[in-house]
Symmetry: C2
């Protein structure tokens, strides 16, 4: 089973997120339907023909460290070269650095397509995009001129060097050191772990962004600076940085996860990005864009797993469904149909969330109006941890269900269903674990996002009101559920505010994960209900909202109770 980009679903959700809506404040005036259509169709073609077939090979062979350099699987290098030469890397990059300046929303749709085709492949450009963001926002003009054009074209790739053995979720303990030289450059020394595409053979240069500490820097996160450390120096010589070893991982075998050594000999040459001791700030720029990208990975891998399961369910004959005299394809059995609908409705919900996050970023970047830009930024900030965590959680769940639909064949590696489960498993972990996302949501984002929260709630209620006006019991039930979910979310977010006002942080943090899930359910159901309301002649789309409402959003009340459960004491139960 190969991959076919679900262009109809993607177009529908793009439209829901604002693309192609004629309005006075149209952010997307430069993107007519023909342009969007041709971008999507070309992306689909490249992904289906060139990337998707590499996914299994990438898993079986993986990237290898040979004589100190990483060799990617057969076909990987050529596919990446053709992909970047076709301009795919520069889609939403700034025009001033030779990017195409297209909206993040269109980028999001393409990112989904690349990740469905191969998560391991799509990771490389995802990190380059983060590096472009960080440099475009924080680097000096000289650094920009020297690095951005080749990063934008994809001739060079970027990395994020944050983690050290003792410094994972908590970066305050970073130990890598950087010492300023007379010529204004820095010498960087230290070891970084879990560096995705830290070394590989697909591009001419690798541009490392490295968190390090200056001598006498203040302790903690306020003493960390960001440096650009290229694999190959401007004079063409090799910098003092190399890949020491590769991790042996559960999944995404083709994506090399490197332990990088900086300054084994005389110190790696680096340049400061942004101000000294403000490195974490610069990194956050990069991380926010990367976090949405990882959320979209969740959607992408889930879609791939769903397509494979659906195909199997339509062809595998087993048992007699509904009293049929002949054996039936297993999709005839209610429990299999239920499983497939659970998969598909959750994918569509997560797609709505991720695309809405991308649209919020466009609002922040593209709007002419200052207030609109501020609201867009607030909304994007609030939505990012939800997009990341909710979508990667459903990525694992859908891949898990995909294996289940295959029965025994799902456990056999040749089938490919298990690879999706293995690949999907990283996404809730990297770029900040989903637990960290939930903490970010409750402790950092919620207190400063009252407008964005109001917007989310009022959108749910508006859609609910519209549907409630229609005839038919099913419409009333859907409308009532959506209103109820919004009420649950309002109650649970108020609880969080109250707890924080009372300095009862443990009570708030203990419910952070269920609160994040509740946010996901509310925004997802709002999206699906909007689609249903707009296309209720389309039985397929309409039934997704109804199913998600009855089988997923039905848990909203319990999620809210769970979120408001209060602190978990340090008990002896563990």
């Amino acid at each position: 089973m190969t991959y076919q980009a679900p262009l109809q679903d993607i177009r529908l959700v793009l439209e829901f997120a604002g693309l192609g809506q004629a309005s006075a404040t149209d952010l997307y005036a430069d993107c007519d339907a023909d342009l969007v259509d041709s971008v999507l169709r070309e992306a689909a073609r490249f992904a289906e023909e060139r990337i998707a077939p590499l996914n299994g090979i990438g898993d079986r062979i993986g990237s290898k460290l040979v004589d100190g350099a990483v060799v990617t699987p057969p076909g990987w290098k050529e596919a990446y070269r053709d992909w970047s030469e076709a301009g795919w890397n520069s889609l939403s990059a700034p025009v001033e650095w030779d990017g195409q300046g297209l909206p993040v929303l269109i980028q999001a749709a393409c990112t989904e397509i690349w990740n469905s085709a191969s998560m391991a492949f799509a990771l490389a450009p995802l990190l380059t995009a983060g590096a472009i963001d960080a440099l475009a926002h924080h680097a000096s003009d000289e650094l920009k001129a020297a690095y951005l054009p080749k990063l934008v074209s994809g001739e060079w790739t970027g990395t994020m060097n944050l983690t050290e053995p003792q410094a994972g979720s908590d970066l305050s303990t970073v130990r890598t050191r950087a010492i300023r030289q007379l010529d204004g450059t820095y010498r960087v020394e230290g070891q970084k772990i879990f560096i995705t595409y830290g070394d590989h053979d697909m591009s001419d240069n690798i541009v490392h962004l490295v968190l390090a500490r200056l001598p006498n820097a203040p302790p903690g996160t306020g003493g960390i600076s960001l440096f650009l450390v290229p694999r190959i120096l401007p004079d063409g010589s090799l910098n003092d940085v190399h890949c020491h070893s590769l991790e042996h991982k559960l999944g995404i075998h083709a994506s090399p996860t490197c332990t990088m050594v900086f300054g084994d000999i005389e110190g790696a040459v680096g340049w400061l990005v942004g101000e000294e001791n403000r490195g974490l700030n610069c990194m956050f720029t990069m991380m926010n864009s990367a976090r949405l990208g990882i959320g979209i990975q969740g959607v992408g891998i889930a879609e791939r797993a769903y397509q494979q399961a659906l195909d199997y369910a339509q062809t595998r004959q087993q048992g007699r469904a509904g009293g049929s005299p002949q054996t039936s394809p297993i999709i005839g059995h209610p429990d299999i149909r239920r499983t497939l609908l659970l998969m598909r409705s959750k994918i569509m919900a997560a797609r709505c969330i991720c695309y809405a996050t991308a649209a919020a970023l466009d609002r922040a970047n593209r709007s002419e109006d200052q207030e609109e830009r501020a609201l867009g930024a607030e909304l994007a900030g609030l939505l990012t941890p939800i997009a990341k965590a909710y979508s990667t959680d459903i990525g694992c769940e859908v891949a898990h269900l995909g294996v289940q639909v295959h029965g025994g064949m799902g456990f056999v590696e040749e089938t490919g269903a298990a690879q999706h489960l293995r690949d999907a498993r990283i996404a809730p972990i990297y770029e900040g674990t989903n637990g960290i996302q939930a903490i970010d949501l409750v402790a950092r984002k919620l207190p400063r996002s009252q407008k964005a929260l109001s917007l989310i709630l009022s959108e749910a209620r508006t859609v609910s009101d519209e549907i409630a006006l229609r005839d038919g019991a099913q419409s009333k039930i859907l409308a009532a559920r959506l209103a109820q979910v919004a009420d649950c979310l309002e109650r649970a977010t108020k609880y969080m505010r109250d707890m924080q006002a009372a300095h009862r942080h443990e009570d708030a943090l203990a419910g952070a994960s269920p609160l994040l899930e509740l946010f996901g359910v509310c925004i997802g159901l709002t999206g699906l209900a909007r689609l249903e309301n707009a296309r209720r002649d389309d039985e397929g789309i309409a039934s997704l909202a109804v199913f998600f409402s009855n089988q997923v959003a039905v848990y909203a009340g319990a999620l809210a109770e769970s979120a408001m459960g209060g602190a978990i004491p340090h008990i002896r139960a563990l």
Copy 2:
């Protein structure tokens, strides 16, 4: 991190399941506390010292097909020999065939311990136990005498040969043929797939139980017979059966999953077990005991994953929890504690369900009273699909959470957390997928288990009433929740009966999986609440019930709604 059998938890749940309770109808009069204690302690010692250390080796090296024969990983053979020589294989086997005749309940506790130590290792005896059951119930005296003693001692192992490429969940399409010979034996010809331990080097002989079709047998399941086909014939010659290939699987690498060829040359020699065309019946005996065993695998792998995650959470330093001035172990963070409590409380709930199933089997087998035996059998029948599916689902979930607690290290294979997730993934699939278990529960078991259902509901309500009598808001809340969960289960099971009475089978089947989960939540909460009520001075145990009630059982109302959602139409949404 190695494994330590959680003897305190196990003893507690054994007690709750009836062991050691002094009563007039004590089924376990022959098992005094000292005996139980020494069995558990010796099992723990063997598992911890001899089996657990092999688990990682088994995963990395796996079983291999070398010159047509399966070679198990280093140390496997010796461990199995010492294990069976110590008498562990014969624990609950019939005394008349040299078994020790101990209760299934004690066997269940040991099965959990073996599976925590290594799922792949524990699978071999699990299948032997199924073969012993089938032969003891259905074979001729001659066959019993020839095969049972060596199967009971563990010198020989057993297999279940059901699946063929076209015949998985639906065995009606089995094609393997058997032809009666003049000497009363049969010649068996055909290919079977997914045969666990179909070949290996750990025992002197392998006793295959094979489903096959006689010439002119009626079509469908009524035309399938069961045959005993030994690897080595009574005269010492090799039978015409061999392993053609091994599957390359996601997990349990040390457990060889064989494609078996019977009768490549002149037909494998086999003996009929039970009557002609009644093979599926005999196989069901075997499958029911195996299904409980697989449920216990879910508990076992979850316990192993939990212990490893807990250990990591207690040692890994990251971030400052609760405003601490120093970095804290990550268990200090509320979201990690929440995750660990979710893991532990679900394990204890599933342990309660599995041990209750084992106790029901003891009631069916050991009671003096005819009515009690019938009730035990009915209860065991109803509980078996719940024990299998609920426990293996939480097995995957807990292993998934275990990876998450490890952060990036969880995705690195050397850590070992990912192996538990890969190993756990098979359990919801084999011995009847969890979807099949749910169908079995709704379509077959529920309609004939009114007494057993009443027992489950009245037990929940009795415990609730007892707790409600106590002082304190927390007791009232727990009691109310348990009563509510019982009400939900009663309502949802009534819905299933109504649908079936109205021949609306699709409406019933569509809700089978959530109904099964609701059963699990009700029986699990009843168990935890009983433990809480008996040991409320033990903060650790008491808080498990409260947490499970507030964070898991809180979803019971929604599960009931989901179960009663009605038929899923054949829509175009897929």
